[in-house]
């Protein structure tokens, strides 16, 4: 789905390339209590956000890995998101509610590459929510592990 809401967007959203060009596939759609109602982001828009790197272990892989992406709160801030919860929805129909506070308490990123290699949809791509698990012991808990949504495609702020 592609947005036709570009004309109504305020200036701050101009940093994102909202486009109808089918070449630039939308990889993340944000909806809910944000300015503009619904926003679709392609790779270019995502790479315009400040890049952040986290090196951490995960619950489903061995060893430490380097993840690169943007801070979830950067995105939410730019979209003026207001709400308690963000519902993350994955391509594989996985749905989970994540408290908004997580993104402000911890440097939670939305990674698009692991160890310098872009994440593919055939693995955990294109986007994977990564918590700084090694930096905070409280995050080493299954109640956080289920918030690591991979194959992320949609966010709904509520």
């Amino acid at each position: 789905m592609q947005t036709q809401a570009g004309a109504g967007l305020v200036g701050v959203l101009c940093v994102f390339a909202f486009t109808a060009n089918a070449q630039n596939d939308v990889i993340l759609r944000v909806s809910g209590q944000i300015s503009g109602g619904t926003v679709s982001l392609d790779r270019e828009a995502i790479s315009a956000l400040p890049s952040v790197q986290i090196i951490t272990t995960t619950s489903v892989t061995d060893g430490k890995h380097s993840f690169t992406g943007f801070l979830m709160r950067d995105l939410l801030d730019r979209l003026d998101a207001e709400g308690e919860t963000v519902t993350a929805i994955a391509v594989n129909d996985y749905v989970v509610d994540i408290p908004m506070a997580d993104f402000y308490d911890y440097d939670v990123i939305v990674a698009d590459s692991m160890d310098g290699v872009a994440l593919s949809r055939a693995d955990k791509g294109p986007l994977w929510i990564i918590y700084p698990r090694d930096e905070h012991e409280v995050l080493q808990d299954i109640r956080y592990d289920y918030r690591w949504v991979w194959q992320l495609s949609q966010l709904e702020v509520r």
Partner: protein
């Protein structure tokens, strides 16, 4: 309650309880930590969900393929479903999930599946409905594989969970047992604490009683008792001390001892306290203690003791005992001893004198024959020759002649009698038989008596008495002896004075003595004889032709000396003066 607290057993039990308490505590804590660690559930235990999702992905892939064969869906959907299936397989091939699959023995099947999917990837990417049946046949065993794996995962999970719960239970049981042990140990400790508290209260009350008793002893003691701490500050001061020193306990306690009374700052007391503070015991006896407003000091005995606790000296205690009575008794003893010694020496002196007299008497008797032969022969010879003449004359003798010769003989016998008297006097003197009864005598009166007598017998010789302008006072002497001495001196003066010259008797005094000088002119005593005139039986060359026995001055001097006085010669060229000295007051003759 009749429980008795045996300290050794109690201590051992308490120690054991504490030990048990600690060991069980550590053990149960260790177990709890283990449980706490084990309860962290890892996502790898979520295999059932992973496998279920894999099965769903495979089934949906097959469904999508079936739709695609009928052109009911598009290439994108096929790619999406295939990607999702691939991502499930990738997840299974990753770290912990891969190990689990290997654990349940399905690694080879997973590898085969992975390979198969890689092989059909090109066919998926460019899907043609004609490939549909072949692809479906290829993917047909995939859900079954996931199903089998899920079964195995469930069994492994439950086995693992059951085992884990069993471990938890066992750990919890051990922890519960430990807690019971801890409670028991705590109970023992509580009982021990209660008993030792009771014991300590009992000990305390006993201590208090003993302290009260000690306090009573100290306060009621007749001895002065004080204590000082290590800095020399008074910490104890009893009633007897207050009486001795005239300072109350309020004035003394808490102050440095040397500030309480000067007595404590005198060197022996200060050193005694210092030595006691160094752990030594010290004694001082009969120290003078001046009390306020009293001239005569008390005499006190002091005993210093260190106050020890184990090896540490905490202070010193001082006992002060009034020993004045003992001191007085000692002094009286010393006086008695002195008096006794004096008495003994007096008696010894008397005995010596007696011995001396005894010896003199013996000597007198020894010399008597010689004296008789020497001194007595002359008058005997005179009498004998006179009587011989008388006999030879017989009847021819005229009465005048008889008278003359008889008178000569009688004179000779008279002299002999006098000689015998004098000799006996001297002998008695020698033997100490003449004693002196000394009293206060008016010397002037004696002088008058003697001079008056001499005037009657001295053929009108002038005897002048020169009295002093001031009253010379009395002499302390035997008046009879003084008279005898003066008589001797005056009669000598009469005897030796040049004719028609007066005899002058002068008396005067100084602070200690009375003096009586008897002077005559003429017949001076030759220089070389002066030292000998007081020797018995000595007769000076100037006495030739006068009657005398040679013992008068000897007797005079001896008598004077017996009374603490003397007779001495003060001759000048013209005048011969004998001086009688007599003491004015009693004084010991020693």
């Amino acid at each position: 309650m009749t429980l008795r607290w045996n300290p050794a057993v109690g201590f051992g039990l308490t120690l054991a309880a504490v030990f048990l308490f600690a060991v069980l505590m550590v053990f149960s804590m260790f177990r709890m930590f283990e449980v706490e660690n084990a309860m962290r559930v890892n996502a790898e235990h979520n295999m059932l969900w992973v496998l279920h999702k894999g099965e769903v992905a495979a089934l949906r892939m097959a469904e999508t393929m079936a739709l695609a064969e009928n052109n009911a869906t598009d290439q994108d959907q096929i790619s999406l479903r295939f990607d999702i299936l691939l991502s499930r397989i990738a997840l299974l091939n990753d770290g912990p999930q891969r190990r689990f699959v290997e654990g349940i023995g399905l690694a080879k099947e997973l590898d085969d599946l992975t390979l198969t999917l890689e092989e059909i990837q090109p066919l998926i990417d460019k899907f043609k409905p004609a490939d549909g049946p072949r692809l479906r046949a290829t993917l047909e065993p995939v859900p079954r594989l996931f199903g089998r794996a899920a079964n195995a995962a469930m069994i492994a999970d439950w086995d693992e969970l059951g085992g884990r719960l069993e471990v938890y239970r066992s750990h919890l049981r051990q922890t519960i047992a430990s807690l019971i042990g801890i409670m028991l140990a705590g109970g023992i400790l509580t009982v021990a604490l209660f008993l030792s508290l009771r014991q300590s209260r009992r000990d305390n009350s006993m201590l208090r009683r003993e302290r009260d008793f000690s306090g009573l002893l100290i306060s009621s003691s007749g001895e002065g008792i004080l204590a000082v701490d290590r800095t020399g500050r008074c910490t104890l001061w009893n009633d007897a001390m207050e009486k001795l020193m005239g300072k109350s306990a309020q004035q003394a306690v808490g102050r440095p001892l040397r500030n309480v009374a000067g007595f404590f700052d005198i060197s022996p007391v200060r050193e005694g306290i210092a030595r006691a503070l160094h752990g030594h015991t010290e004694h001082l006896t009969l120290q003078p203690l001046f009390q306020p407003h009293r001239d005569i000091p008390l005499r006190v005995d002091l005993r210093f003791f260190p106050l020890r606790n184990d090896d540490e000296t905490l202070g010193a205690i001082l006992f002060l005992n009034d020993a004045t009575d003992r001191y007085k008794a000692l002094q009286k003893d010393a006086q008695d001893r002195d008096r006794l010694e004096e008495l003994v020496s007096e008696r010894t002196r008397d005995l010596d004198n007696a011995l001396q007299r005894e010896r003199s008497a013996a000597k007198l008797y020894r010399n008597f024959a010689a004296m008789v032969s020497h001194q007595f022969r002359t008058p005997l010879a005179v009498a004998d020759s006179a009587l011989q003449r008388l006999i030879r004359r017989g009847t021819r003798a005229t009465p005048e002649e008889i008278n003359e010769r008889a008178t000569r003989a009688r004179d000779a016998i008279d002299g002999l009698t006098r000689l015998v008297d004098s000799t006996m006097d001297a002998a008695r003197l020698d033997a100490g038989l003449i004693g002196a009864r000394r009293t206060a005598c008016d010397l002037g009166q004696i002088v008058n008596t003697v001079c008056a007598y001499q005037r009657t017998t001295a053929d009108g010789r002038q005897i002048v008495i020169r009295q002093p302008t001031e009253d010379p006072g009395t002499a302390f002497c035997d008046p009879a002896h003084a008279e005898q001495v003066l008589e001797n001196l005056v009669s000598n003066a009469v005897k030796y004075a040049a004719p028609d010259t007066p005899i002058v008797v002068t008396y005067h005094s100084d602070a200690e003595n009375l003096f009586c000088d008897v002077s005559n002119e003429g017949n001076p005593i030759p220089e070389k004889e002066r030292a000998q005139i007081f020797v018995r039986n000595f007769r000076g060359t100037n006495s030739v032709g006068s009657k005398g026995t040679g013992v008068g001055l000897f007797i005079a001097r001896t008598l004077a000396r017996m009374q603490g006085g003397d007779v001495s010669l003060l001759s000048s060229a013209e005048t011969t003066t004998f001086r009688l000295t007599l003491p004015r007051f009693y004084e010991s003759l020693i």
